[in-house]
């Protein structure tokens, strides 16, 4: 019911509506605040594990000829240190920050896909757990965190160690992709009214670009992991020279991910810096537009650097110079950001609070790491320093400087937001100096040990090489740094109990996350007032009161409905109202089923793995069916003078964004696969072997025709399946769930409009019902023909165990087949929902639009794959 509520009463009602369940039912939690905190805490635990492994490494290297660890265990430890820190700490920690903060900064109540966020968390937890259990069992990966082939192949790594890495990391990467989709869609569509792109907080820009980079950068590694696992498990040769593969293909795929990964880690951390510098300078950021431009530029350039990790593998000098140029260019957008931060400090009145101390550490350490990065971008120097401790020092300066120091600044800055208590300045300062001095004393000497020739990844070294004292210094200092982290964690834990109560907005920030009670309520904002400045709380100090007293959009609370505002991408104008899903066990169960699949793959229990697949599909289908709205759940809301309807009735709904963004990642994976196809064609001798190339024209033409027809139907509007059959009694559902007076009025208004259009609609409905049925039938026929044809083509391809050509061709066809099956699944769900009264008679269903996006992509890429194989056959 809508009525005049006190602030506390409004708070209680919304809190009840949006809160997550407690006890064992908290497994069903989906709220972004909960999920974000879970990510952060879990990543912190992994960080402690990674840190412990680092201490073991330093203990081993402290003295020459050390027998503290043997080489097998050392290999596992340094591999796991890199893997844990990169995949299980850095990315998830930043995602956790983003998931927690972004809706609050954007003036939104939640993320676009709360259940997807929960699924991402469980995948991350289970994937990471696989890796840690393997470490405890003594079968952890031991081929280095980049798993170079042939060392990681079945011949040289016969145990399950490498499989653990490939499966565990891929599982965790599913989490990153899900989070990427979620973050991007949220930033683009769910903001406070009036928050146009140029008024978004810079942190949102950084995360937007990072999320896009995750979607494009992670798939090459996922593909590489799939290919390597296929080679290890089934003997399909992708990286084995004797059977037409090439080990350099792995390096390319790995570093296509690996170098952007550095910026994926750096950018959100830089976003934190851009959030904090203006606050402590007491001045708006200088050069907002330049920073936005530089973030985008940095992201794109970072995809042109990957070969600078491969300068010593024998690539022509001219090709190396392309990557060298790009590596140096990337310094420019980085410098733009630094100059903007310096200019902001210069123009403002800086106050040196605790987070600023850590930001100063960031400036010093990251610039040092950036400078050695420019040195390594130069090919002749790179040849000298490659695979030495100089590189170890450089990467730690970049990652600790670019990630850990901003993160620690962020811990102190946002700690009052999470706990409602202020941190201790004294302990925080002690911790900083221990970390800062310990870090520099540990890693600065590594530049020197590297320059005098100490290689990476050696488990011990003889006396008299000139490395002894420098290594001892590094080891002692690393324990000093560890003491600093212990002190910091102690401070964080203690402040929650003994810290003084934090006032609202304790640092005087201008961004919206501080316009709420702390600790943050589950619904974030009781209403969503308009925003017309980049620092809304500086521009409009009453914004928080307006929000709390319901003087913004969606201020009228409706029992049983979680509402959030969707805005236009560029302008931030209100577009429609999202009806958000509540807690559910489905994400947890889906992650369990996915985990079952991965664990079975690990132990080669393929029959049981199939059970996992079936279970996962069943859960996802259930998720799709119960997650989608019924037409009867539509409503109309008055938002800032405009009548807005529910999201599923409008084009550009979050569901469509989500599928499109998933397909962006999907396309990146296919592009990486094509890269491998062309790479082997160019590099491997006699590829493809002419004797094995035979084009099966009949299935080729059948597949092209069926897929082409799906595309053509899309072009004519057919694949949108717009006018879906209407179940009897549908109209009777209209008006359900519309509780308050205004809604009733609007429903009445709608009813009038419906009555006016009823005759027309009935006529159209009768006319289209048969047409719709025919369209469904046509699509089913197309998919069946395409499926059978592509299966025939796959069967016709050369045996995948014999030569890489056969293996790659099979993978290409498998890609198409998988997409056809998913298209059929979506069509089936749409068909079922259409027949069960989920859609209004004249409405373009969101399901149908999602199906159309997937169907077009599948048809287009399917045709591309078939044509690519034909082209290769003709060329051979």
């Amino acid at each position: 019911m809508t009525d005049v509520l006190t602030v506390d009463a409004r708070h209680q009602r919304l809190q009840q509506e949006w809160a997550d369940p407690v006890g064992w039912r908290s497994l069903a939690a989906v709220n972004h605040t909960t999920i974000g905190k879970r990510f952060i805490v879990t990543a912190l635990i992994f960080f402690l594990v990674g840190g412990l492994l680092a201490m073991l490494i330093r203990a081993q290297l402290a003295s020459p000829n050390s027998a503290f660890l043997d080489h097998d265990l050392y290999n596992q430890i340094f591999t796991m240190h890199g893997t844990v820190m990169m995949f299980l700490f850095a990315i998830p920690m930043l995602e956790g920050y983003a998931l927690y903060l972004l809706p609050k900064m954007l003036g939104s109540r939640d993320l676009a896909y709360p259940r997807l966020g929960a699924y991402a968390y469980w995948c991350y937890l289970f994937g990471g757990t696989i890796l840690l259990l393997a470490l405890a069992a003594g079968v952890a990966p031991d081929s280095g965190w980049f798993m170079y082939t042939p060392l990681s192949g079945a011949t040289h790594s016969p145990g399950i160690n490498a499989d653990v890495w490939l499966i565990g990391v891929t599982f965790a990467e599913i989490s990153a992709i899900c989070a990427g989709v979620e973050l991007m869609a949220t930033i683009l569509t769910m903001r406070a009214p009036g928050m146009s792109l140029d008024k978004m907080p810079l942190f949102a820009w950084y995360v937007l670009v990072t999320a896009a980079m995750i979607l494009i950068g992670f798939p090459p590694l996922i593909l590489g992991s799939i290919l390597l696992e296929l080679e290890r498990a089934l003997g399909w040769p992708f990286f084995e020279v004797a059977r037409g593969g090439d080990p350099l293909l792995w390096q390319h795929l790995f570093w296509m991910f690996g170098h952007p990964e550095v910026y994926i880690i750096f950018l959100p951390a830089a976003g934190m810096v851009s959030s904090m510098v203006p606050v402590f300078s007491r001045h708006p950021i200088v050069g907002y537009r330049w920073i936005v431009g530089s973030i985008v530029l940095l992201a794109v350039l970072s995809f042109g650097l990957w070969v600078h990790h491969m300068f010593t593998v024998g690539i022509p000098h001219l090709a190396q110079s392309f990557f060298s140029v790009a590596s140096m260019l990337v310094a420019i957008p980085t410098a733009i950001q630094f100059f903007s931060w310096i200019a902001t400090l210069w123009q403002g009145r800086p106050k040196f609070s605790l987070p600023m101390l850590y930001l100063a550490g960031f400036f010093f350490v990251f610039i040092a790491g950036g400078l050695t990065g420019v040195m390594l971008a130069l090919v002749p120097f790179n040849w000298q320093a490659h695979d030495t401790h100089f590189v170890v020092a450089h990467l730690h300066y970049v990652l600790v400087g670019g990630l850990v120091f901003p993160l620690l600044a962020g811990v102190y800055y946002w700690m009052p937001h999470v706990t409602g208590k202020m941190p201790s300045p004294r302990l925080g300062r002690y911790a900083f100096w221990l970390v800062f001095l310990g870090f520099n004393a540990a890693f600065l000497p590594m530049h020197l040990t590297g320059l005098v020739g100490m290689p990476r990844r050696i488990y011990t070294y003889p006396e008299g090489m000139g490395w002894d004292s420098l290594n001892l210094l590094s080891s002692v200092a690393s324990f000093v740094m560890a003491a600093g982290f212990v002190l910091l964690i102690l401070d964080v834990v203690m402040h929650a109990f003994v810290g003084r109560r934090a006032p609202r907005n304790p640092w005087g920030s201008g961004t919206l996350e501080w316009a709420m009670r702390t600790p943050a309520p589950s619904y974030n904002f009781a209403s969503l007032p308009a925003v017309d400045d980049r620092d809304p709380l500086w521009h409009d100090p009453d914004w928080a009161d307006k929000a709390a007293t319901g003087r913004g959009a969606l201020g009228a609370h409706t029992a049983g409905v979680r509402e959030n505002l969707i805005v236009e991408v560029l302008s931030g104008r209100p577009r429609c109202v999202a009806r958000m899903p509540g807690p559910s066990m489905l994400p947890f169960l889906a992650a369990m089923a996915t985990g079952l699949f991965f664990v079975c793959l690990l132990f080669k229990w393929y029959a049981v793995a199939l059970v996992g697949v079936v279970l996962a599909i069943a859960i996802f289908v259930r998720w799709a069916i119960v997650g989608g709205l019924r037409a009867s759940q539509s409503f109309v809301r008055d938002v800032l003078g405009a009548s807005l309807d529910t999201h599923h009735a409008r084009r550009g709904a979050p569901g469509e964004w989500g599928v499109s963004l998933c397909l962006l990642a999907d396309a990146a994976l296919l592009a990486a696969l094509f890269f491998g196809y062309v790479f082997l064609w160019l590099v491997a001798p006699a590829w493809p072997p002419p004797a094995w190339v035979e084009i099966a024209w009949l299935p080729t033409l059948a597949a092209l025709s069926a897929l082409g027809l799906v595309l053509a139907l899309g072009a004519m509007g057919g694949s949108r399946l717009p006018r879906v059959p209407q179940a009897p009694g549908h109209e009777a559902d209209q008006g359900k769930g519309q509780g308050d007076a205004r809604e009733t009025q609007q429903a009445v208004g709608q009813g009038t409009q419906q009555a006016v259009g009823q005759g027309t609609r009935q006529a159209v409905g009768q006319g289209t019902r048969h047409g719709t049925g025919r369209r469904f039938l046509l699509h089913w026929v197309c998919w069946v023909v395409a499926l059978v044809s592509v299966m025939a083509l796959a069967r016709h391809a050369p045996a995948p165990e014999v030569h890489a050509y056969g293996a790659v061709t099979r993978v290409l066809y498998a890609y198409v087949l998988l997409h056809i099956l998913v298209a059929a699944l979506i069509l089936g769900v749409t068909h079922w929902r259409a027949g069960n009264g989920f859609f209004a008679a004249s409405q373009y269903g969101l399901d149908a639009r999602i199906y159309a996006v997937w169907a077009r992509y599948t048809a287009a890429t399917g045709m591309l794959v078939v044509l690519a194989v034909v082209a290769m056959g003709v060329a051979a």
Binding site: G304, F322, E568, L640, L682
Partner: protein, 144 residues
């Protein structure tokens, strides 16, 4: 006055210049690899190697395309800049007008100004990055 269309495609347009740079990067890297595997590696066209000539030609096509895109983006940004200077700063009032369909160009011009600026800036920096890519092709011997 026609209402400007606001959607995600404007952002994609802003990225298109960098897309041309990325395409050129791939074409140069891939072209070099293919060229060095072919008979062209040992041919010359006047003073330069045939592979280098091909790469320069490919580079010039991309540079020309990006130049045209930059020019168009620049003209549109200047045009919008003139319009937006006539208007008041974007405000909620203007947003409400647009939401309810009673709009003038003012709020929309404000909204697009940022993306137009971003488009010009990214196209320009993409062009600079493209020029930097040409230097090695001019000064280094391919296939070594």
């Amino acid at each position: 006055m026609m209402r400007t269309r606001f959607n995600g495609f404007a952002l994609m347009h802003a990225l298109s210049g960098l897309g041309v740079w990325a395409l050129c990067f791939v074409v140069l890297y891939g072209g070099l690899t293919i060229g060095c595997q072919s008979a062209w590696a040992h041919r010359t066209l006047g003073p330069i190697n045939a592979v280098s000539a091909g790469l320069l030609l490919a580079w010039a096509v991309h540079a020309g395309l990006l130049g045209v895109m930059l020019g168009r983006a620049w003209r549109r940004a200047r045009h919008d800049g003139r319009l937006s200077r006539l208007d008041e700063p974007a405000s909620l009032r203007a947003d409400q007008q647009v939401a309810s369909g009673k709009t003038s160009l003012s709020a929309e011009a404000q909204d697009t100004a940022f993306v137009r600026w971003l488009t010009v800036a990214l196209h320009a920096t993409a062009f600079i990055a493209l020029v930097a890519l040409a230097a090695p092709v001019l000064f280094l011997t391919p296939c070594v």
